[in-house]
Amino acid sequence: MSEERSSKEMNNESRDYLTVMIAGQRFGIPVLQVQDVLREQRVTRIPLASKEVAGSLNLRGRIVTAIDVRKRLGLPEKDDGLPSMSVVVEHKNELFSLIIDSVGDVVSFKDKYYESNPGTLDPLWRNISTGIYQMENELLVIMDVSRLLEDIGSYT
C-alpha cells in the first residue's frame, strides 16, 4: 500500500501532531505550529466578518483571531454543551485561535502510515487536509493550517 504513495518520499522520519477532536473526527495539527492551547475564551465578535471568524481575543497582549473550525469545515454547531477549546497557531506572523471541540494527545507518526486524501473526501475537507494517518483504531485527518486559514475572508 505504501508503495503506491507518490507524493511523499519513503522514510522513517516521524512527525508529531497534536490531535484534536472536531465533531467526532480526530484531526492532527503539526505540533510545531501550535503555540498554545486555550480553554474556552471570551471573544469579541467582529461584525461583517466571514462566518468562520468567531471573533478576536487577547492572548498576552497580542490580538488573536478566533476561527470557528466547525464552520470552516461545514459542520453544524457544537451542541453537546461542553466547553470548547482552542489551539493557537501562527500563520504569516499573525496568531489564530482555532476553536475545536477538545484536545487530545500529541502523537508521533512514521511517514509510512501516511496516506494522501481519498478522492471521495468532501472537497472542503480535502482542501484543508494534507493527508490521513492511519491510527490503530481511527483515522487522523492532518490539518493544513495555512490552507485552513487562507481561504477565509476571501468571501463574506
Partner: protein, 995 residues
Amino acid sequence: MDDLVVEFLTETNESIDEIDVDLVNLEQNPNDTELLGKIFRLVHTIKGTCGFLDLPRLEKVAHHAENVLGRFRDGDLEVIPEYVTLIFESIDRIKFILKELEKTGKEPEGDDSAIIAKLDAAYEGKVISDDEAAEEEPLAAAEKIEEVEAEEAVEEAQPEEEIIELIIKERTDLAPGDASMEELEAAFAAAPGMEGIVNPADLEKQKQAKQTTEAKVSEEPKIDEVLVNETGSDSGDDEYTKTETRATANQTLRVNVDVLEDLMTMVSELVLTRNQLLQIVRAEGETAFTTPLQRLNHVVSELQEGVMKTRMQPIGNAWSKLPRIIRDLSIELGKKVNLDMHGQDTELDRQVLEMIKDPLTHMVRNSGDHGIELPAERIAAGKSETGTIKLNAYHEGGHIIIKISDDGKGLNEEKIREKILNNGLATAEELKEMSSQQVQQFIFKPGFSTAEKVTSVSGRGVGMDVVRTNIERIGGSVELKSTEGKGSIFTIKIPLTLAIVHALIVEAAGERFAIPQLSVSELVMVSDHGDNRIEYIKGAPVFRLRDRLLPLVSLSEVLCLASESILKPEKEEPKEEVIESAAEEEQEEAVEETGEALDAIGPEQEKALVKSLKRAAEKTKKEKKKEKKKLARNLYIVIAEVGGYQFGIIVDRVFDTEEIVVKPVAQMLKGLKLFSGNTILGDGSVIMILDPNGIANASGGIDNIEEDATMQGTKHRADSEKKTSLLLFNVGDNTPKAVPLSLVARLENIRKENIEYSSGQMMMQYRGTLMPLVPFSNSVKIDEEHGRPVLVFADKDRSMGIIVNDIVDIIEEHIDVKLNSSQKGLLGSAIINGAATDVVDIAHFLNDVNKTWFRDHNNAPFGEGDEEEIRGKKRVLLIDDSPFFRNMLTPVLSVAGYEVTTLNGPTEALKLQEEGVSFDIIVSDIEMPDIDGFEFARMIRSEGGLWADTPMVALSSHATPKDIERGMSSGYRNYVAKFDKETLLSAIAKTLDGR
C-alpha cells in the same frame, strides 16, 4: 535658510567632529595612511560642497588645508605637531565660519589670508613660528601650539557636554519661543554656575539643562553664547576656539528612524499596560498600588509625549521641494505660477509626514498643471496673469489641516461627467442624479484623469486615487471644493500622530467598539420623549442639530448586528399583527416590532402611535411596563465628521474615552472597510476600531455631500424620495384606505367616554383645545371597550381627527392613483400592497369639518383671484398632473393664506397666461406628461410672456441635488420635495419675499 545649507551644516559638523578626533590620532600615529586618507577625504568633501554651495571663504580655507593634508598623505610632509596644530586651526576657522553661517545664513565677513598663508607655508614644508603666527593671526591666539594639549582635553570633554537632541532630519529655522519657559529657565539656571572655570559638576548640570532643552535653533544661540563664554574663559575669549558649542552638531544627534519607531512601539505598549493597570486599580479601589501607579501614569505620559516629540517634524520639510517643482513646471508649461506657503512650522509626526509628502507634491503639481491656466487664458478670464497656488497648514483640534488652493480654472464638470460615462463608472441615469459635488468626487476614483494630454507632470491616470488612499490610510481625509472658473480647494485633514489615539468606546447591540476621538465632533443623548429625539424621513433616521438636519446611521444596523436596537426599518409586519403579537406572550418581540414599525412614521406620529399601541397592549400590565422601559431607553448619537460630511452614528451606550494603540487587523479581515484596526482595551478585551470614513461610505452618505448644506436644509436620499409613505387603515368596509403619512400629524386613540359634542359636532379634548372629530364613514363605530384610532391632521394650532376602525400598516409605495372620484372623500384607488386601496382625500374631511378652516379653493374661478388680491392675498398657481397631489396641497396652501388656482398641466397654464391671468407665484410639478416642469419653466422664462418674471417654485418627488440644480437653471427660484409641507410653505414665503 536654504535647505541644502542646513543639510550641509549638519553633515559638515558631523565630519568635523570626526576630523578633530582623527587628527589627534594622527598626531600620535603619523604614519597611519588610512587615517590620513580619511581626514583628507573629509576636508576634501567640505571643500567640494562649499564650492557647490557658493561659500568661497570656507572653500578657500578647506582648499588650503586639503593641500597640506595632501602632502601628508603623499608622504611629502612629515606629520609634526606644528602642522597638526595648523590643521586644527584651519578646522577651527571652518567651524567658526560654519557657526556664523548657521546663525546668519551666510558666511561672515573676515579675512583668512593669514591662516592661508600659514597653510601655504606648511605646504611648502616651512615650519611656522608660533610668535609669527600670533602676530599674523591675532584671532587665532588661542590656537597656539602649546595649547594643543588643552585642546585635546576639551576635545575629550566635549562628548560629555554634548547636548542630546534628536534631529532626525535637517531642521529648518524655527520660530523663537518654541522652547518652553521651563526649559529655558532650566538652561539659564544652569548657566550662572558656569562662571569661571568649568568643573565637571557644572558640565553635568549644563548637560542636563541642555538635555531638557528642545534645541530650537533660533533660541539656542543665546544659551550657547552664555555657555561658550563661560566654558571658553579658560582658553581665552577667542571666538574661534573649539569649545564653542556648535548649535547644530552638538544639539542634534542623528538617530536611526528604526530606533525611534521601536521606542514608539514600546511606549505604546507601555501606555496600554499602564491603562490596564489603572483600570485594575480603579476597580480595586484604594490600594497600596494607587500612589505609585499614579506616578507611573505621569511618567508614562511624559515619556509618551517626549517620544512623540522626537518624531515631530515641521511640515515645511515635505514642502521644501515644492517651489522648485512649481518653478520648473511653470517654465515647462509656459505658465506663471506663484506658490504661497503658510504654516511651514506646523509640526506633525514623521510617519504622517512621510505618508503625505507624495500626495501633497502630487496635488500641488496637479494644481499647477491642471488648475492654473496659461497667462493668456487667465487674462481672458479677467484674472491676473500669475496664478497662485496657496498652501496652508495649521492645527485644528488634534488634526493638521492642509489646504491647497489655486485660483485656476477649477474642475471641468462636463469633462468629468463624460469621463465617468466613458469609463463606465456610472450610468447616464445615475450621472443625471448626481450633484456637481458628487461628480467632482470622481476624480478620486482610480484611473481618472481629466487632463486632455498626458504631460510629463500629470495626467498619467495615476494620481488622485492614490492621493486619497494614502491620506485615508493614515486616518485622514481629503475634501475637494471646486468652482469652475474660480479654482479648486483641496482640504486635507490628517491626525497629528498615528501611534496612539484617543478613542471613544461605544456599545451597539451589546458589542463594544472604539471610535477615534478625532472624528467625533460631539455627543448627543436622545430619548423618545425628550426634546432631543430621532426623527424619520421615510424610515431614514435624522436628527435636528442646531437647525441642521443630520443624517443618522445606526451602528448596529450598519454592522448587521442582530439588533437590540429599536432602529431597524422593516415594514413587512402589518400593524395589526404588531398589536396582536404585542398582546401575546412574546413581549420582548412585540416591543421590538413596535420599535421597528415606529421609524417608518414621522416624529409626531411616532409618539402618538406609541401611545395607541400602548393602549392596545394594555391588556397585559407587565407588557406595558416593559414597553415603557424599552421606549424610555436613551440612545446616543455620536456626531462624526468625515471630510466635511457630518453624520450621526446611533449607538446604545457610550463609555469612557481611552487611549488606544491602533493595531492592524488580521489579513483576512482587511476587507472590512468599517474598521480601521483593533486594539486591546484597559480591561484586556479586544475591541474593533471603527472607521468613520468607512461607516459614512457604507451608509452611502459620503457621496451625498452637498455643495451647500443650506440649500435645502435637508439631505434627501435620492432613492427613497420616489416612494411615498402611506398609512393604511380600515374603516369597516372591505377596502383598505390610504393616506399619505406626511399629512398625518399624530395617531390618537379615542374612547367613547372621551367624545364630546359641541353644536352637533363630535369633539375631543386634545392638548387643551377642542379638536373636531369626524368618523371616516358611517361604518365606523366607536368600540365601547377599546375605543378607536384617530388620525390627527394638524396645521398650526388647529387640528382635526378622523376616526377610523383600525390602523393596518405603514408602507412605502410608489403610488399610482387612478382617479375615481365617484365617492366623496376619496381621491381614487390604487394598488397598494397588492390590494386595491382607496386613497383618501383629506381635504374633503377638512372642509367638511370646518368650512372656515379651509377656504373653498379647489376649483376657484380665476375671477375671484382679483378680489383676493385686494384683500392682500397672494395668488398661487399650482400645476400638477396628479389630482392626488393637487388636492393634497391645495388645503395646505389655502390654509397658509394663499389664493390657490390649480391646473393639471403646463398646457393649461400656458393658455391661462395668454388669457392674461397673473399670479404672484407659480408652484409646478416637475414630472408631468407632454411638457415637464423644467421645460415649462424655460418656456415661461424665455418667451417673455406675462409670467416671465413670476417666481417659480418646483415641486418634485425627485429632489436630488442634481434635480435641484437643473431646476434652478431652468428658472425655478426654489425646489421643494413633495410632501415636505413646511419647506414648501417656507419656500413660497421666501420666494415671494425675495421678489
